[in-house]
């Protein structure tokens, strides 16, 4: 789905020639050391960074030139690392905005579905998002992104700043369930080991380029190999 993507800010290239393909029902994860350009890669897809070269496809449609606010109607959803919810809006309002493009009458029903999917949120619908705990907040962010039933979901370091239990809940529990429901997930994660455990395919990114893309199984348990890749030794 990503084909030879280079991206950056202000004409300055940070990500070089990355190609990744994701498929429904499967989790692809991008791991790599700090500053490898993982977030920039996601931002290039969502139009928040400049796409300098390459093309992006989603379900057979090229979306490289699609404005940021049209991506969601093409089936692409995105959960940013920070600022992932509307702080001053309530949980319900967050979900409503997530379903901004849904037909009005579908919104309420879809919110109910989301609350079933994330029962933790159902008690909190009237709470202002800025007052949620880190994990609740991340779940809300994911629920919000799922509102329009996207075909692909981009998750930018969903566990950043979460407690170990919450990390477990989000990473081990919720994300695989999402993927099972048929969404293609592209996960960018700092916690490489945990990410690889739940992923189908792993892309190791170093210094703005994908060093290697492998089936996750190959890497599981072979931490030496992973370390070697991270440190850039050939």
């Amino acid at each position: 789905m990503l084909d030879g993507v280079s991206a950056g800010y202000g004409g300055h290239e940070i990500v070089h020639n990355v190609s990744i393909e994701i498929t429904p029902g499967r989790i692809d994860c991008v791991v790599g050391p700090n500053g490898a350009g993982k977030s920039t890669l996601l931002r290039a897809i969502t139009r928040d960074a400049e796409l300098l070269a390459g093309r992006i496809w989603l379900q057979g449609t090229e979306i490289s030139q699609t404005p940021g606010n049209r991506l969601v109607s093409r089936g692409l959803a995105w959960v940013p690392q920070l600022d992932d919810v509307f702080n001053t809006l309530t949980v319900r309002e967050n979900l409503e905005l997530g379903g901004f493009l849904l037909p009005r009458r579908r919104v309420a029903a879809r919110i109910e579905e989301m609350l079933e999917l994330f029962p933790l949120l159902s008690r909190l619908t009237a709470r202002v998002a800025g007052r949620l705990s880190g994990g609740e907040r991340k779940l809300l962010a994911i629920a919000r992104a799922l509102m329009p039933s996207p075909s692909a979901l981009l998750l930018d370091e969903p566990t950043a700043g979460l407690s170990p239990e919450m990390t477990n809940l989000v990473l081990r529990d919720q994300i695989p369930r999402l993927s099972e429901s048929g969404v293609a997930v592209l996960l960018v994660e700092q916690r490489a080991i945990e990410a690889i455990e739940i992923s189908a395919r792993v892309h190791v990114m170093v210094s703005g380029a994908v060093r290697t893309s492998r089936e996750a199984q190959e890497l599981r348990g072979d931490w030496d190999e992973l370390t070697r890749l991270f440190l850039g030794e050939e």
Binding site: D48, L71, N87
Partner: protein, 295 residues
Amino acid sequence: MSVFISALGFGVVTAAILAISAVGFTLQFSVTNVFNLAFGSVMTLSGFVAYWLNQVGVDIWLAMLAAAICGGLISVAINELLYEPFIRHGVNLFGMVIITISVGLIFDHGLQAVVGPSFFSYNAPAGKALHFADFVLTRQELAIIAIAAALTAVVQGALQYTRLGKAMRGLAVNPALARACGVPTRSVIALAWFVSGALAGIGGVALFLDISTFTATTGSEFLIVIIAAAVLGGVGSPRGAVLGALVVGVVTEVGGAYWNPQLKDVLAFSVMIVVLLVRPQGLFAQLANERAVAR
């Protein structure tokens, strides 16, 4: 006691006039993060549109409606033709403050070059004074209070309960995420500018009716009081702006009644500064935009 009650009543009138404009100012600021010091010029320009209509015999309330539309259009035009290009050009937020001052100066003095330094007033009778216990209000003032109450309620309600209103609030607090949700950010921003300009237009006519004479720079001269009300309430919160306007209005009038009236504005401004020192986010900042303003 009666002095206090009547001063309170006057404070409400002043607050009503300030509130209309302060809500417009704060709404636009929270959505677009542009501290628009040309807001006063939009008030004046729309006020003059109402004046010219009024001169050819249009009823002042109808002219106020025209001023609202005009203010909205001027406001959208300023943003599309000047502010947006400058922001895209990479001018930072403080640079934008200076741009808005420039725009305000150009508008005010352009208008002054056309209409001259003279004084203008609407042809609109204040109506009979009505007495409520110790309050004395004219029909015109009652109408302005009613308009202010209705407008602020409508704006607040729309923001709270409509899809577009929620989108606007979402856009204010997290533009990138709003875009990711499919909110047509450009249109919503344009809408915010329009509503803000329309409120400036109505607020301008209300102000000019109240002070009975005005010049090409009157709007800008009062802008500081309006911003004080908005900041006092917590910039970004329409409800806060209304409450801020009430505080400013009541403090000036009650202060004026019991203390040196020449310094009543000083009193209101001092209250604002003290409030900001104690509570830097403003009095009623729950709804307010928590986004830090980048330097």
